[in-house]
């Protein structure tokens, strides 16, 4: 599986994503600087976490308008696979590749902690290694992860099974108190209609070794190996 990781000014989880992809695919991802005009042929493009352009104006807004992002959009339009984690998810909504927007957390605070996610659709290239409904532990670290979409969009996401991950409590229920940031319908991650694009706020790449406190993030990458190799 060939992969590429896009680096924007002040991306800061790019290395973590590169390490995770290399560990799982055995191949070093291409590292693409935001001003590069071309992306080599790859099976997957990853938009990493961080604070692209300082998250000034709106998170992901400036990165979404970077030269390289046009190439990412073309790749996605051709059916190519794209993942966006944290800031990457924000970039994806800003480009319109995924619907909705990520607003300031309800508490207005940056929150870094482990959260429980439920896999609500395991029939995607990014989730097939998990069981349907499986509850996994994944770290989150963001200030603006409060997912918003209007009622119609939300309904469509639900009806089309496009909610990949939801914040849940220990027993797997998407309760209000399990919702760390105020996201509508406890949404932590969504996929595109064609299932080739995934955006999620929490960071699976931070939990792929026992030393990091667990390996629940591995399934995310293993899914892609299953689907894309």
């Amino acid at each position: 599986m060939k992969t590429a990781v896009i680096v924007f000014p002040a991306s800061n989880c790019d290395r973590d994503m590169v390490v995770a992809l290399e560990k799982i695919t055995g191949k070093k991802p291409h590292i693409i600087w935001h001003q590069d005009e071309d992306i080599p042929e790859v099976d997957l493009i990853a938009l990493p976490g961080g604070f692209s352009f300082g998250d000034y104006l709106r998170c992901g807004a400036m990165a979404a308008r970077s030269p390289v992002t046009k190439r990412v959009i073309e790749h996605a339009d051709r059916g190519g696979n794209v993942i966006g984690v944290c800031n990457g998810f924000q970039v994806l909504t800003e480009t319109g590749l995924l619907p909705g927007a990520l607003m300031r957390n309800e508490s207005l605070k940056f929150i870094c902690k482990d959260v429980k996610l439920r896999v609500d659709n395991n029939d995607t290239p990014f989730t097939n290694a998990y069981a349907q409904g499986q509850v996994i532990n994944i770290p989150m670290a963001h200030h603006d992860g409060n997912y918003f979409a209007d009622d119609d969009t939300l309904q469509a996401l639900e009806d089309e099974g496009r909610i990949a991950f939801r914040y849940v409590d220990d027993s797997g229920d998407a309760t209000k108190s399990a919702n760390p940031n105020g996201s509508r319908n406890n949404i932590a991650g969504i996929i595109s209609r064609r299932k080739n694009i995934l955006g999620m706020m929490p960071h699976p790449e931070r939990l792929i070794e026992e030393a990091q406190g667990g390996t629940d993030g591995l399934g995310f990458f293993e899914s892609m190996i299953n689907a894309l190799n």
Binding site: N12, F110, A141, H143, H203, Q212
Partner: protein, 736 residues
Amino acid sequence: MTWNNNVEITDVLVKEHGLSDDEYALCLEILGRTPTLTELGIFSVMWSEHCSYKSSKLHLKTLPTKAPWVIHGPGENAGVIDIGDNQAIIFKMESHNHPSYIEPYQGAATGVGGILRDVFTMGARPIANMNALRFGSPDHHKTKHLLSGVVEGIGGYGNCVGVPTVGGETNFHPSYDGNILVNAMTVGLADQDKIFLSAAAGIGNPVIYVGSKTGRDGIHGATMASAEFTEDTEEKRPTVQVGDPFTEKLLIEACLELMSTDMVVAIQDMGAAGLTSSSVEMASGGGVGFDFNLDMVPQREEGMTPYEMMLSESQERMLIVLKPGREDEAKAIFDKWDLDFAVIGKITDTGNLTLTFKGDIVADIPTQPLADNSPEYDRPWVKPQSKAELKNEDVQAPADMKQTLLKMIGSEHLCSRDWIWQQYDMQVMADTIQKPGGDAAVVRIHGTDKAVAISTDCTPRYCYANPIEGGKQAVAETWRNITAVGATPMAITDCLNFGNPERPEIMGQFVGCIEGMREACNILDYPVVSGNVSLYNETNGTGIHPTPAIGGVGLLSDSSKMVTIAPQAEGEVLILVGDTRGHLGASLYLEIIEGREEGAPPPVDLNIEKKNGDYVRAQIDAGNITACHDISDGGLYVSLAEMVIASKMGMKVTVDTGTIPSHAFAFGEDQARYILSVPADKVDLILNTANNADVTTQNIGIISGDELTLNSTTPISVSELLEAHKGWMPDYMSID
């Protein structure tokens, strides 16, 4: 208003610049003439307490700074230690107290930015941040606002630059009501053959300015940091520096990229006193002169004067000496990262800092005497007296041990700090293997089996009660915390926060703390490699508690051997290491339960400290124990409760308290103690080894069930403990 560099230098003007008569006389002697206004400004900031260390130098010199593993000690931007494999750890701690009081968010944020630059300017990639915070009483009307702003500022900056904030400490005490302490520490990683220093060299070499443009930010910040607060300080509201972490992140990447080439001769961040101190340090350090054309300095505002440019504390700027002819190559890197880049001058053989502005020379100062002949004071000090020993008979037994313990761990002093650290990205870079909440933070050296352990500590109430013992204890506690995760303590940085040094009793506290630190560093073989002094933390004549914050760093050569404070399984046996005497003087028990701040602090026997710590570390290394926690604030019962909270497993503790009153046994703060959790089949081994090493140990209980049972105390359920521990800070912060 037109600017006049040649105004008459009146007594008033000299005074306004904080220079004493003697200092001004020295300035005249160095120049051999009256200074220009720009020169006066330069002397003023260079000789401020903050930049010149004039009150503290004499005493700082007595600290041990050497060890075979120390590559660079104090004197460089940060300390450098050898961790093998051609790798080095570079670290330092610095205060941003005054700015954080005036504008907590920006003050704390720029504090983080400043300490990051001190570390990456030496060629290191920052891999961890720490923060040691002191606030006033929770009841003080400003505390909530300050706590909230400081934490948000630290997170706002550190999270954006992508360096994990992995730990720290947080105290509350009324002595900080008018002077909070915000001490930030950065730890970085470099290759030993790629360490960069600031001494300039090479006559004719170009001097480059990179980063952000210069504005009128924080002019006189360095002198402000050296002056006592008065009621009207808040009214003056000096131009606050605003941090731009986005630019800092670009600056880190651009500088590291530049340093991976062979173009750099010397590099120095612009910290306090900006362009002035960076250029004087670089020039005097290399015994050369600098010729600057100030018109070339990138400026954010119109009409900036040389005075303003030289004194500005705008953030995110660096000064670099390049090899000749490499300007274009270097510029290409900074262009890529969208940062300002300007050749502002060159190195000369005059030894002078010569500044030209619009064709005129506005300053021409010999840098060597400016830097090296700066004033140095042997300020009068009185030998601090230790507070009288408190007798245990004078401390009442609590009515209800269970409620007492719950009250203690639910107090502002001992409650969980997760409200704070949740606002910090603790895991970015994916190498954090021990997050806040334990004894030391542990961060892996990327791609190796090694890891660094980091802890910041100081117990100001001990330092106040007895500066010498307090100084020892602060050093010893970091050493112990690092030991408790299994790492070998290597070196410390410090941030010495004190009141007004012109008062002999405050100076006595300073001298006393240094004496204690010195002894501890010597005996523990744990040198000081960098540090910072913050004086005049005083409002209307009331000083803070003496607070020599220590940041310790240790190395785990095999990170898989690390332990945490959480026992792993039912049936593990709890072993208490060290002697328990029930010392309640200056303890948290006394403060929280009795509302008394009295007594001498627990004495620190450094030889026992070393013996016990070396024993514990060896047991961790041998894989004989599954969890370890040192005993500090709150004593034995609090430490046990913290282990229960971390593991969510209960304990049954039965311990013979001998002749010691049970509350003194429970909450006394005797030093050099640890609790180990040990698999049942290792207990004999552990006890025998301890015996051979002449280390006191005691089998005190077992991991079992979901309650904490302490002798005859009513059992406390794990959930009760968790709730009491978690609640205070979120509750406090949510009440408007």
